[in-house]
Amino acid sequence: MNHCVGHTQKEEEVMLSRIGVASFEDLLEQIPKDQRLKKTLDLPFPLSESELKGLFNKLSRKNYDAAVVPSFLGAGYYDHDHPAAVGHMIQRSEFATAYTPYQAEVSQGTLASIFEFQTAICELTGLDVANASLYDGGSACGEALWMALGETRRNKILVSEGLNPCWRRVVETYLGTPGVVLETLPSLKGRVDPAELKSAITSDVAAVLVQHPNVYGLLEETGALGEVVQGTGAHLVASVDPVSLALLEPPGSWGATTAIGEGQSLAISPSYGGPAIGFMATRSSMMRRMPGRIVAEATDTRGQRGFVLTLQTREQHIRRAKATSNICTNSNLVALAMLISLSLMGPVGLREMAELSLRKAWRARERLLKIPGVTAPFAGPFFREFLLELPRDAEEVVLEIYRREGILAGVPGARLWKDHPNRLLVAVTEKRTDDEVEQYAAALEGVLAS
């Protein structure tokens, strides 16, 4: 027997004899012989715990060291500071090794924290109700659009060109069923033109999906877009950045029906893209269309306040084929990390983080644009992230800057757009210093001059 099995061979023999079978083979009779493996699987030799650590440590050395490499990468995942207490809390067995809180009486820790999370998301977005979280920002877009399609019974979706292409691809897969039409709202100057939106909204449009700040980091003219959508019967779905909401008017104030977003940068390390956390908030009228878990306040037999999963008739385990979504789980532990992070920062801390990031991003942009050959495709107010156009392939430049200075200069255009290999998307968080920006600029200058 091995270290993951709760009994010895001898104990197994005792159990088998009490069951009344001669050997394990008798229990295995359930699987016809010709359906069983003929020989043992061909897998690498098992490793002890110390050998396992050796393997992973050795492998990890083939990755860059995020602890010391200054990162200007963004596109949805940002290098913000995570308070140390967050990691300590989410690693606790009580949170990490619990299951979905179906038995409320012994799951109040999970349920109360989801209720707190829902409250925090409502506060950030300025909307009425939130769910317990979704897998990530991309699938959250897909789920929000399903809601709009179901509610309006229309079949067309308009997606702004400024939606993060990594999420756009997920949206295309989610909505890739016969009868659903997906159209792109162009952003010629980096933003959706409200006049263009006006002419694009026809009576078959179920939802308009706008990201703000958009993938270029720019602020969309949300007020004007909200006015255009109002009264058309279409939903306005806002893909938002939770850090930016410390400074920016929340989607609930500019007419969004549903807001979704990615919370990774406020919660946990990126882990090469997952796990992440999608959040969602919407208006009360859409509550019963929301996907996933929702927690409500309840009272127990002793008259005390507690919390329970609610509105479960929306969900797949009750409604099956007629459920609002097929989603079963949420991204609970990451949601908890985001909640604890927000609690530690509070409204003032979150604002400081957002302000610092924006100021530093603005200064970095000014500095980088002084370099000969570096231009900015778009102008106007932005948040934390901006787009540059380089005179050559950005992927090569990024690698060269890394080799010279050990800095990750940004996301190369090729990673996001088919026809813009020279674009470079640069994100700056509060963690970046003026010295790092100066080093980066000098390296970029050197690479472009060579």
């Binding site: 091995n2 993951c4 709760g6 009994h7 159990m15 394990f24 229990l27 359930q30 699987i31 359906q35 043992t40 897998l43 098992p46 715990e49 083939k62 860059y64 060291d65 990162s71 949805g76 995942y77 809390m89 619990a98 299951y99 979905t100 409320a104 799951s107 109360a112 409250t119 506060e123 109700v129 317990a132 897998y135 993060n164 691809r169 295309e172 989610y174 016969p178 949300t222 909401l245 008017e249 390390s269 090469y272 997952g274 796990p275 409500a296 309840a298 009272t299 127990d300 002793r302 306040r305 797949q316 099956r320 459920a323 097929n326 991204s331 509070g346 610092l356 200064r363 107010p381 690698l399």
Partner: protein, 488 residues
């Protein structure tokens, strides 16, 4: 005790975290964000010191039952123990800190891990390739159904229906529906297995696929799966296997050898990654060769001495995850596979089967097994309580909580009235199983002699039984500042 919320601990101007001071005050924020975009009222987030935050969440955590505390025999969910070393490995900074858009040349360790995981898992499943993108079993099912649709469309076939047994998880019909297919239910026979005759009748040219959970949700092995697969393949359909119950099979048989064309693997079940109170998990899918062209992009491939991302799949269904899937979860699962090896994995399934049968043997005197005979890794029972006592399976479940055990899955599968679905997993010791059985025996006795004990349960938990019906009528889904003082 009333459960207190972090918002209720807020005190004006308290703070729990510090940020660097910015040397300059340039530019002024008002110059950067035009007034029309500026937030007029700050979000009302809690204002608390770090020590208060930590105390609050420690206090909340103490209200949770969890695997590290005791047996969690939740059928269909395989709540096995999660080895601690996996957490240390996942937190290695050079894995955890990786940004998904960093150059692939700088992420070779992670790419190699993903590649090796795929190779080994494909072999374990008897499949030809894997997609790592799905974040959960349900998302794996959805992706699977998208693959089914793409496969038939590519062959110019117009197929509309997907067959699903009546004992299936709710995610199956829901995933079929969101992918644009119509689910068609097939009944189970008296032995709990798929009814062969009824299935044969329902298979026709419109059949796009069948979804089979094997072992099924009754814990019974679907030994006719190869036959059914042959019939489905005869009409150009595909066989999707729901891998929720793979913990009974790993190392003994392979979905691919049973006729499955697609299978999803819940890494948080069979491969021991922590459930996190409801995610994040991971539900990668394995496919047979004919479906590889339709898999999501990018794939991880070998290139020269290293690894690269392959975006060149013209027939791909696209993406189901913005990046590569829940890599942090996959890492833990790979560590688990590497620590067990082939014989270790087979030993796990074997122990899970032995434990389930032993527990079934211990409880079947007081609880009726839903179906006769031995089980695989889980079983379904119903309480034998005289009707006039007015008790339900829920009452048994709630009473179990008083004894420091988690309850089985309640009222599932739907085809069993008053079901309790028990999955002890291989982690549990013989004496723990015996204690659990003894408690179940005592509860059966209480049901007859002192039924009120069950109706009042639980009494030993932080809160008593909660009124879900009243909560659904009142629907309070968030804390409001005006609630302050209301619960003092």
């Amino acid at each position: 005790m009333n459960v207190e919320l972090i918002f209720e601990k807020s005190r004006k101007d308290h703070r729990g975290h510090s940020f660097p001071k910015d040397g300059g005050d340039k530019p002024a924020l008002d110059d950067l964000i035009p007034e029309r975009h500026r937030r007029s009222k700050p979000p009302r987030l809690p204002e608390v010191t770090e020590s208060e935050v930590v105390r609050h969440y420690i206090k909340l955590s103490a209200l949770n039952f969890h695997v590290d505390k005791g047996m969690y025999p939740l059928g269909s969910c395989t709540m096995k123990y999660n080895p601690k070393v996996h957490e240390d490995l996942a937190n290695i900074n050079r894995f955890a800190g990786l940004h998904p858009c960093a150059p692939v040349e700088l992420c070779q360790g992670t790419l190699e891990m993903l590649y090796r995981f795929s190779e080994e898992m494909s072999h374990i499943m008897g499949m030809d390739a894997l997609s790592l993108q799905p974040s959960a079993g349900a998302q794996g099912e959805m992706l699977g159904m998208k693959l089914v649709a793409a496969y038939h469309k590519d062959r110019g076939l117009n197929k509309k229906t997907v067959l699903i047994p009546d004992s299936a998880h709710g995610t199956n019909p829901a995933s079929v529906a969101v992918a644009g297919f119509t689910p068609v239910e097939i009944p189970s026979g008296p032995d709990g297995r798929i009814n062969l005759e009824a299935t044969r009748e329902k298979i026709n040219d419109e059949t796009a696929a069948i979804i089979i959970t094997n072992p099924n949700t009754l814990g019974i092995f679907e030994r006719d799966m190869p036959t059914i697969a042959r019939w489905i393949h005869e009409v150009d359909g595909l066989v999707y296997m729901d891998g929720a119950n793979l913990n009974a099979l790993v190392g003994w048989t392979r979905p691919g050898d049973l006729g499955a064309d697609i299978v999803h693997i819940n890494l948080h079940k069979t491969f021991s990654t922590p459930h996190g109170g409801g995610g994040p998990g991971a539900g990668p899918i394995g496919v047979k060769a004919g479906l590889i062209p339709f898999l999501p992009i990018p794939g991880v491939i070998r290139e020269g001495a290293g690894y690269a991302l392959d975006w060149n799949r013209p027939k791909s269904v696209g993406k189901i995850h913005p990046f590569m899937g829940n890599v942090g979860v996959i890492l833990r699962a790979w560590a688990y596979m590497r620590t067990l090896g082939a014989e270790g994995l087979a030993a796990i399934s074997r122990a899970a089967i032995v434990n389930a049968n032993y527990l079934l043997h211990l409880v079947k005197e007081d609880y009726s097994p839903a179906r006769p005979g031995p089980c695989m890794h889980e079983f379904v029972i119903t309480p034998r309580i005289p009707k006039e006592k007015g008790l339900r399976n829920t009452d048994v479940a709630k009473r179990l909580l008083d004894f420091g055990f988690y309850a089985p899955t309640v009222s599932f599968p739907l085809i069993v009235h008053e079901a309790l679905m028990v999955e002890p997993t291989e982690s549990e010791r013989q004496d723990t199983l015996e204690r659990y059985a003894a408690v179940l025996k005592q509860i059966a006795k209480e049901a007859v002699e002192t039924p009120q004990t069950l109706k009042d349960a639980p009494t030993e938990t932080p809160v008593g039984r909660l009124d879900e019906a009243a909560a659904a009528r009142r629907l309070k889904l968030r804390w409001e500042p005006e609630d302050a003082g209301e619960t003092a």
